[in-house]
Symmetry: C2
Subunit: 68 residues, 2 copies
DNA sequence: TAAAAATATCCCGATTTGGTATAAAGGAGG
DNA sequence: CCTCCTTTATACCAAATCGGGATATTTTTA
């Protein structure tokens, strides 16, 4: 997941992101370290939160925007 | 997931798909009925198997091809 | 360099997952 | 209409994975 890169580029802390997504800071941390993987629903929430495609979030494309 | 639609359009049975992906037919069935959700790794395998983007597989775009 | 902010890790209960086995549904031929 | 074969769905279960609270560690800032 390209999560840390995206989050930092927006200048958002794990805590703020976690609160916005109704989850915990430690959960975000684990996604970023790769210790845990979000479920699909959470994955989508994250992509939407940052307005990027899931493919981009998963490092499958270079295009950061959501595909229409 | 747009899984059933994609799989049928390729004329592949759940069983064949399952064997190609080293899993079980019932697992595919449950993905299609929505009873279970694949993990991210499996999700990516499925997208690659059908050569579609994850976003398309998740019904987030109309473009079936992988985004470069 | 002390305090605050940010991030990582520990432990845990609970949910979710995938597998095996089996049942049900669908189709082709007789 | 049956029977066989293929395809798809469901039941049950052990194991893996997840998220949360608490806490430790690291990083930043004043």
């Amino acid at each position: 997941m390209r999560l840390r890169e995206i989050r930092k580029s927006r200048g958002i802390s794990q805590l703020k992101m976690a609160m916005d997504l109704n989850t915990n800071q430690n959960t975000i941390s684990r996604y970023e370290t790769g210790e845990r993987q979000p479920g699909i629903d959470e994955l989508i929430k994250i992509a939407d939160y940052f307005n990027v495609s899931v493919d981009y979030l998963l490092e499958r494309t270079n295009n950061p925007t959501i595909q229409k």
